[in-house]
Amino acid sequence: MNMPNTIVCRCEEVTLEEIADTAKRYRCSSREVKLRTRAGMGFCGGRTCRYLIEEIVRQAIGHATFDTVPLKYQPPVRPVSFSQLGGEQR
């Protein structure tokens, strides 16, 4: 199995290598990795890969992220369409 090319964030197609390299190169937090690579910013809202990204960054830079704030998520926790906001029943 080709580990470096394993896709971690499927929504934005970000590989393990890209995330680890970005974290090492910039010695940055998981949030900065997210903003630089778009990992965890796709359709699912990082629900699938958020913890993986945090763990990869933690391992890559050897300690907890500088700001130690985990990647956040906020309402709405699932994508909501404008028709739903407008009161349409699903």
């Binding site: 499927r10 197609e13 359709f43 699912c44 629900r47 699938t48 994508p79």
Partner: protein, 116 residues
């Protein structure tokens, strides 16, 4: 049509006969059973690709199958981003897969889509 279904489960027993339902996926007609999800019915018909990634065009299918990851999102009756793994099929339901989107402003990519 029965391909891929467990017809004789050692614990759950034989698969009970259910109502057959016809539906359309990308213009092709398929048969499924009442109560099956779009993803399950298509899988039983040998269709594993539910959409293509918007930017890269890489094929996508069932990933989490519990409504978590949105990898199986399809267009159902004109409504976009419906999860195939949670939505049950209905008679005559029209489903479209997601396709690669044009990226005319991407460096070195998709010149054919350029309209300016």
């Amino acid at each position: 049509m029965m391909s891929g279904r467990i017809e004789h489960h050692p614990i759950l027993g034989p698969l009970h006969s259910r109502k057959r339902i016809g539906f359309i996926f990308d213009g092709r007609t398929f048969q499924g059973y009442e109560g099956e999800t779009i993803a399950a019915a298509l899988l039983a018909n040998g269709v594993r690709t539910l959409r293509y990634h918007e930017e890269s065009g890489a094929p996508r299918g069932i990933y989490c199958n519990i409504g978590h990851c949105y990898e199986c999102r399809v267009t159902v009756e004109g409504k976009g981003n419906i999860r195939a793994c949670l939505t049950t099929i209905k008679e005559g339901m029209t489903i479209r897969s997601g396709q690669k989107l044009p990226a005319p402003f991407k460096k070195g990519g998709d010149q054919a889509w350029r309209t300016f």
